[in-house]
Symmetry: C2
Subunit: 175 residues, 2 copies
Amino acid sequence: MQEFNFTHTSYMVLGLIELAGSATPYNLKQAVSQWLGRIWLVPHSQLYAEPDRLAKAGYLHAERETTGRRRKTYTLTEKGRAVFDEWRASVTDELPELRDISTLKIFFGAEPRPLAAAQLEAHRQQLAEYEAYLATLGPYDPSKGPRAPWVGLEAGIEWERAWVARWEGLLKAGG
Amino acid sequence: MQEFNFTHTSYMVLGLIELAGSATPYNLKQAVSQWLGRIWLVPHSQLYAEPDRLAKAGYLHAERETTGRRRKTYTLTEKGRAVFDEWRASVTDELPELRDISTLKIFFGAEPRPLAAAQLEAHRQQLAEYEAYLATLGPYDPSKGPRAPWVGLEAGIEWERAWVARWEGLLKAGG
DNA sequence: GGGTACATGTAATCAGTTACATGATTTA
DNA sequence: TAAATCATGTAACTGATTACATGTACCC
């Protein structure tokens, strides 16, 4: 038996299907763009390939329409639910990487100020977008279903605030 | 003529070679682990493959020892310097992605506190490491050569502080 | 009824990862 | 001189990206 290699994309797919109960690749695409926003992007073609891979390995069950668009709808199998639960419950001390292109440029000797200005603007805009979206959602209410959307937004907001502070600081320091 | 596809790795390689004047893949490996630390990791095999790709496309010049280890030493060509300079000087409003696994788990409904505790610990440790390293470097002095190591460290430190604050906040909020 | 945006997928390519492999130096 | 560690690379695989392609529904 061949080992199945779980990537982050694998867990995202399993997780989104768990949240929704069942999903087509298009549903997944929507979920990613709506909930995970800039947090963890996956190109839509992967959202066709990855569920397929997971289904072949027995972690998802696929049901295909026989007429029309012949959509595939995926649901979790027992096995799939088990590995996802295990992944989610496990604590990791793995650290995220920075991977910010503007920082990399500065590292290599670029002028910091123009980069800082552009990034500051972009992050502020993103922050405003998140906050506006959060406002339309209203405060979290358990009766509204899973907590996920709020968690994603709140993380995004904190993240953006940290970046705004960072670039502001850099602009001030240079002044 | 085929388009050459520049990845982030491409620019890292070009940039490190510019900093050093010339470099073997092993030098690159050292530079990455020493200066870029957790900021932008590249596996060492890529540091053999990527310079080769760049050399074939005319952005690097390769010189190979004829005896012993037959090391390849790479230097920038005019063309290579030009594309790197252009990349470095260009301002981008592209935003970095978050890509933090613990946040993803929380998004999917994991218990936040154990994750927060583990991450807090890991980030604090990383922060301490960076600060210790910065202390051994001392303050920046132009006579010491390129500014890059300081920039990398300072970015890393700010970054880690933001994460520490975030996880601390989460722990407190849950209390 | 023609355009345009949404919806749904496949195919080809390639960068990146993992695993393997071996040569040179130091150290015990 | 055996063992470890540092140094240097290659090979195989595959997940991810990019590009292509087509169908459906709405709207002007």
